[in-house]
């Protein structure tokens, strides 16, 4: 057995069984969640937001809740048809991550004075994101592993990772702290998706065309969601970072061109 404390000396099998285990998840989240109730350090001070900022943030958080609920329902549904034990255990850690994201977002909305989050989400949800969620859950219901991984762990996670990373750089201190913890989780989810799908496409290249069609269908919904979210965050069109670029780079690594 190689040096167990130098990750680069692990064999491939050891590496994969290490990172897809509950033990790995457990020690990883301990690093950035311990002593941080609802994902925020007790020393982080909240600031007063003006009404426009508060409204914009609530709308954004409502949409994050839609995305996280989709991720929670999809990742939990995928456990039943995950191809092996490691994938099942990894997905069970993802399920609790997604549940935690939903919980901390709802907690932040309560701090902002939202009394009925479900009604607010219903009212403010982005239509493209809702359509994306429906399509994702269709793939899960059909037990289509490749399409579910593409839609959930590649596309949705990449969308969230990119938006949350950007938003954590501009948000108020409490929201920013909470988002940084979520981004740390998203790295695992996104990496799992890209690597799993990448391996599958190498072994079964014929699935590429089918997945490419699905990706093209979902692209419009994802790019609309990016645009709308940036609008809610009040970012000027000229100053908008190339959020779609990160997403397109990830799918390009898998061989999908736009």
């Amino acid at each position: 057995m190689s040096n167990q404390s130098n990750p680069h000396e692990l064999g491939d099998a050891d590496f994969h069984s290490t990172v897809h285990s509950f033990e790995f998840w457990f020690e990883a989240v301990e690093g950035y969640l311990h002593g941080r109730p609802y994902g925020v350090s007790p020393s982080t001070k909240d600031v007063e937001l003006d009404e426009r900022q508060r409204e914009g943030l609530i709308t954004t958080l409502c949409n994050y809740c839609v995305g996280e609920t989709a991720a929670l329902e999809a990742s939990s549904g995928m456990i039943r048809f995950a191809p092996d034990r490691h994938a099942k255990i990894f997905l069970s850690t993802q399920v609790v991550d997604e549940g935690r994201h939903l919980e901390v977002l709802l907690h932040r909305m309560a701090q902002l004075g939202v009394a009925e989050p479900e009604a607010e989400i219903e009212k403010r949800a982005n239509r493209s994101l809702l359509k994306f969620k429906d399509r994702l859950l269709d793939f899960v219901d059909a037990r289509d592993w490749e399409a579910s991984v593409l839609a959930q762990n590649v596309i949705l996670e990449c969308l969230e990772f990119t938006v949350f990373r950007h938003h954590s750089g501009t948000a108020d201190p409490v929201t920013a702290d909470m988002l940084r913890g979520i981004v740390s989780d998203e790295r695992r989810h996104m990496g799992f998706g890209e690597n799993d799908l990448g391996r599958r496409l190498l072994m079964a290249p014929h699935t590429h065309d089918r997945l490419h069609k699905i990706k093209r269908e979902l692209d419009t919904l994802v790019l609309d969601t990016f645009e709308e979210t940036l609008g809610e965050l009040g970012v000027d069109r000229a100053e908008r970072p190339d959020l779609a670029g990160d997403y397109l780079a990830a799918v390009a690594r898998l061989g999908f061109r736009s």
Binding site: F15, F24, Y32, S184, G191, E194
Partner: protein
């Protein structure tokens, strides 16, 4: 099928590799014993050391106790990716190996 990363690579190295003593960087997203092998990327102005590579999947800087060279394999634990270093236009880049 033979995994190219598992086979012996021809020795192309002229100069001996430099070694590095890794210290904790404050990175806290993997189990404690692995933390010093990673650090956060500080954005486009950040410079990578000769023992460092940027993960294209999750934008975390991967660190090694040895100087890194083209052909090396490294692992990004935060996003669970296996990477190989390649040289493009004189730059060392990490590419995902699925």
């Amino acid at each position: 099928m033979t995994d190219p990363l598992e086979t012996e690579r021809p020795v192309q190295e002229r100069k001996p590799r430099r070694s590095f003593e890794l210290e904790e960087t404050g990175f806290n997203e993997v189990p404690k014993r692995f933390r010093k092998f990673y650090r956060r990327w500080r954005g486009p102005g950040d410079t990578l050391g000769p023992n460092e590579a940027l993960c294209p999947v999750c934008k975390v800087v991967i660190r090694s106790v040895k100087e890194l060279r083209a052909g090396d394999r490294v692992y990004c634990m935060p996003c669970m990716s296996r990477l190989e270093l390649v040289e493009e236009d004189g730059m060392l880049l990490a590419k995902v190996i699925y």
